[in-house]
Symmetry: C2
Subunit: 337 residues, 2 copies
DNA sequence: ATTAATTGTGCAAACGCTTACATGGCATCA
DNA sequence: TGATGCCATGTAAGCGTTTGCACAATTAAT
């Protein structure tokens, strides 16, 4: 059917072994032969059979992506599709294929990962769902299969990951607010067990301190989750304070809850910021000032990290790649601050 | 490394051929042997090596998905991610893997398709980008590789495809408007060369006629594209008519343009409907009455169609599957109508 | 001038699975 | 009882690549 390595070999007048070596840029092949073989390949439109090469023990040049199946979140937040696009940009430029699957729950995620690995289809995996105590990470570590996490892992030293610099991001937000003249800035975050909450809160505290403000604990609210309800609750709490003029949140959903409460109390004068640049914040009135996490970049970097890892594994050049990247966020000023 | 068919055969006390036959449910294997083999498989946690099975000439059980890389559209419209999820629901239940790629332009789409096919990775393809004169469709036909189109093809008789019943959908919208008391309903559509425009316009006309209204041509506007600008222009044109009380559009973007013009002219009394249920329409004020195209379902059906096709091809049971599915749309009433 | 090391290439086995063909056992029929 | 046919399973070749090993040709070292 399709063109095989044999036909290329025949046309180039060499053995299949040589063709294979040319494909992989083996260093013991003379430049002249390389040229001849390459000409033959392009003349025939040869594309290696991925199944065969994978079977013969090579990097299948395919990356598996595991997504959480959270319809609500998927819909509200362009994060996933953008991350997938980012991954594809880099992976495709390196000739990698991409496999994806949505999973209903953690168990299914693990099942899919097992399938990916055992089936021999993929050479590495990117996880897009960072949970607190991630069994997928555990599993992948236990079988020591190459993977990259989008999000911050529990063990940042021994895991490959990409994430935003959450400290820096919130630091920026608070400085922006102070620059705009706000002084008494409250904080509404998600559960304190999440690393992301901690990092953003630290950024908030640091920024305040550096500018000469020292928020008491009552100005910091941490909800049980990242929901609107928690935001609403947080606003309720913070409104008991005197002179509050701004609320920085760690998530758009929280921010929406905050806005709702503020609206109810006719305190629209209070500034609000969110996080994640969800679509609702873009189109609602007033537009929500928020932070874009640059999902595209996160995806691209994740792919880069993984592919580096894979290629480095194959070759014996010991170029030590970093084990993580921090991707810049971008403040999106809109009406609420 | 992983468990192979040999180990299963050894444990079950049969040959590898028998194991293979059990996997594929060959009918000449006795029930008792089947049971023994299945037990062995599950005991060892055996998962067939996809590369090997694909190489040996079997259906690789992998579907390639080609997406357009249109950042703006991707962001505004949850269509793509939902369709991908829909595909994954069905495909995963049938044990199929999914490959995806975003392409920058038509040429790249074709390149990716070639890669998919020549590499032997995929057994079938789903196209999510239906254009007017689709070279991908042409190419796939020319090499007669199994594929399904999401959207209406040029040759609906000899292509596998899924789509909404666009006629029906717009018919419904217009009836809804008439039921709500609107009488002089204008139409703003995209370019008339698109089949979807034609179908929806026909639905509009038919519904009007059936209820005793006979819109003159001046009540029908067809833009050069599906943009807000075209919508704006359309509204401008229609506003010259007397007594207009509603505008049905074929796309949310068009609707947004229409709303803008109406707002400018303080004619918010005029009802407006969109199409596609984009996120902006959900969150803006006033909320846009629109039609959800059920992207999930479209994806699921597309996967179903393709997998049926593939399995039917393999086995010689000649169950003739339909060559297309029409997926129901859903009217989403909100503020603008 | 001999030997040793290096370079460029080919040979052939191996990867894990499928499947056409072969085979032995059993039931059926005359 | 022997021939016939079917049923359940085994044998082995082959799918397209990769790669360790072998080997011839060249270069370097003595």
């Amino acid at each position: 059917m399709a063109v095989t390595i044999k036909e290329v070999a025949l046309l180039a007048g060499v053995s299949t072994a040589t063709v294979s070596r040319v494909i992989h840029n083996h260093d013991r092949i003379s430049d002249s032969t390389k040229q001849v073989v390459r000409d033959a390949m392009s003349q025939l439109g040869y594309i290696p059979n991925a199944a065969a090469s994978s079977l013969a023990g090579k990097n299948p040049k395919t990356i598996g992506i595991v997504l959480p199946n959270n319809p609500g979140e998927l819909f509200k937040n362009p994060f996933f599709i953008n991350a997938m696009r980012g991954i594809s940009v880099y992976a495709q430029s390196k000739g990698y294929f991409l496999l994806y699957s949505f999973s209903r729950d953690e168990q299914e995620e693990i099942d899919f990962i097992q399938n990916y690995i055992r089936s021999g289809w993929v050479s590495g995996i990117i996880l897009l769902a960072s949970r607190e105590h991630d069994r997928c990470v555990e599993y992948l570590n236990s079988v020591s299969f190459p993977f990259v996490l989008i999000g911050r892992p529990e063990d940042p030293q021994h895991t490959y990951w990409v994430d935003n610099d959450n400290f820096q991001a919130m630091y920026q937000v608070v400085n922006y607010l102070i620059d705009k003249g706000y002084r008494k800035i409250g904080f509404v975050g998600g559960p304190p067990t999440f690393r992301v909450t901690y990092d953003r809160m630290t950024g908030y505290r640091q920024a305040m301190n550096n500018r000469g403000f020292f928020p008491e604990d009552s100005m910091v609210f941490q909800g049980d989750d990242f929901s609107e309800e928690s935001g609403y609750l947080g606003a309720e709490r913070l409104l008991t304070l005197n002179g509050l003029d701004a609320i920085a949140t760690t998530d758009d959903q929280l921010a929406f809850g905050v806005l709702e409460k503020l609206h109810k109390e006719h305190r629209e004068d209070i500034a609000v910021t969110g996080f994640n640049n969800t679509v609702r914040g873009t189109y609602q009135h007033p537009g929500l000032t928020t932070v874009d996490v640059n999902a595209d970049q996160l995806g691209e970097r994740a792919a880069q990290l993984l592919i580096n890892l894979l290629e480095q594994q194959t070759s014996n050049h010991q170029i030590i790649t970093p084990n993580h990247y921090l991707v810049e966020t971008q403040l999106i000023p809109r009406d609420t601050a």
